[in-house]
């Protein structure tokens, strides 16, 4: 294929009248900050960065923040060196090529352990199925692991309250983390908590193009927003732990959500049918 220069399409490809402008546009801005530390005032740091980037938040904007920096700023750090692994931890560490201290920390953090592959355990925490109970070694100080925030919903709500005050805008917040998915190579993001908008859009009862009623469709709006934010946030050492999302039509509510984005094993197409095998 040739690599043509970007030219305007020729007039003859279209007879439709041109509209004045695109009616809708989703924008995602990265929020690059100084390195976050325990006791950093995260809301103020984000507000400072927005100001420095000349970005004025508007009512309805969503600010997505990485779970890791939320947790780190709250002082949640697990020191691995001091941990004495149990025999179960040693056995799992041996089986899945993980440090026994890290496995012990995962066991303490997880609600359930379902198995593992080399380098990761499959766990459930807060009814979220995730690798290593959300514990992360990357971007943690050497010898430490960073867990999820203790109460993501409450952290998200507090961040919204503080950011609304600092920014003088009725913004929404969400706390995001990356997550691997069955049979997919690589991770995308999910929302651990949101504040200020309905995280799941219910399309049931609306009609399709042929007038048929849609029966079961819901859209995981917050998870999709987390993925959009991830595209600008980066995962390595970008120091870009947050993003501002503008232009999405949200159902605004003055409340916060976390487990409302999850379903039970019994309702779940996957967990209802796939059971731990422990081979």
């Amino acid at each position: 294929m040739p690599s043509p220069k970007a030219l305007k399409p020729k007039r003859d490809i279209n007879q439709l009248p041109r509209k004045k402008a695109v009616f809708f546009l989703l924008s995602v801005y990265p929020i690059k900050t100084e390195v976050i530390k325990p006791n950093t005032d995260l809301a103020k740091t984000i507000a400072d960065s927005l100001y420095a980037a000349n970005l004025t938040p508007r009512d309805g904007d969503v600010i997505a923040i990485s779970a890791k920096v939320v947790s780190f700023s709250e002082g949640n750090l697990i020191r691995l060196e001091g941990i004495r692994p149990s025999s179960l931890a040693y056995s799992l560490a041996n089986k899945y090529s993980l440090p026994p201290e890290f496995v012990e920390a995962i066991l303490a953090e997880a609600d359930e352990v379902l198995g593992g592959v080399s380098g990761a355990l499959l766990t459930i925490k807060n009814n979220i199925i995730v690798a290593n109970a959300g514990l992360d070694l990357s971007n943690a100080p050497p010898g430490y692991a960073i867990p999820w925030p203790k109460d993501p919903k409450s952290s998200c709500e507090k961040l919204r309250k503080k950011l609304r005050e600092l920014l003088k805008a009725d913004i929404c917040t969400m706390i995001t983390d990356s997550k691997v998915h069955p049979l997919r190579l690589g991770s995308t993001s999910i929302a651990l908590a949101v504040s200020g908008f309905q995280p799941v859009e219910d399309l049931r009862g609306s009609q399709d193009l042929f007038g048929k009623t849609i029966k079961i469709k819901r859209m995981a709006l917050a998870d999709a927003l987390a993925c959009a934010a991830q595209l600008v946030m980066g995962e390595a050492r970008e120091s870009c732990p947050a993003a501002l999302i503008r232009g999405i039509s949200l159902k605004r509510v003055n409340s916060s959500f976390s487990t409302e984005m999850t379903i039970s094993k019994d309702e779940c197409l996957y967990l209802k049918n796939l059971k731990p095998s422990f081979d």
Copy 2:
């Protein structure tokens, strides 16, 4: 919480110097088209809509297109009325409250059936774990189901070639579909195929904030882009089957991908540990 008006943050919240502009911005534009029918020239329809919306594609833009309209425009339609269900189809239909003809169509389309819940079967197709083998009744003509495109990678490549010619810009394409995830309420999107860029970003070997080498992290860039596109495309009757994504840093390659975004059951944190139970 009060609902303050959107005002500029006060100067005193920040002592940092203001930069001239945000260094990076991801934009997602909806591409609203006429209703797609079998034998619609999809590339031309999209080019027409971009022109009508006054949106001039640039080199490196990604055009995401719903799998359903790609398939429909290629004439892929399954007429359910003519189908004679097998006894297995009747049995699964009865167990999971589905029409037997629809179940038979799923059985023909799926590479593997893992189980079900009321209203949906859990299947694997093209090494993607998905409800109902990707068959969709919504936005299909009454009495029909729409499957995935027969060869998503080839369709994606053809669309890219045609769109590059029509738009005179070196754009990328991707074909997207919605998908539910374990224990999550609602669906997000994944990429069935991409053309023109590397769909998975490999972060292994890069360094974190503390100089530690990242060992296992990959980012499912194409799936995250699919979610960003989903935010403007809608799922009901919006007639918005495509989106243009601009501003993302991509590793451009002149090739197409599909199964390169999947991993085997044996490498999969979920499928390695969770096995079909058929209770």
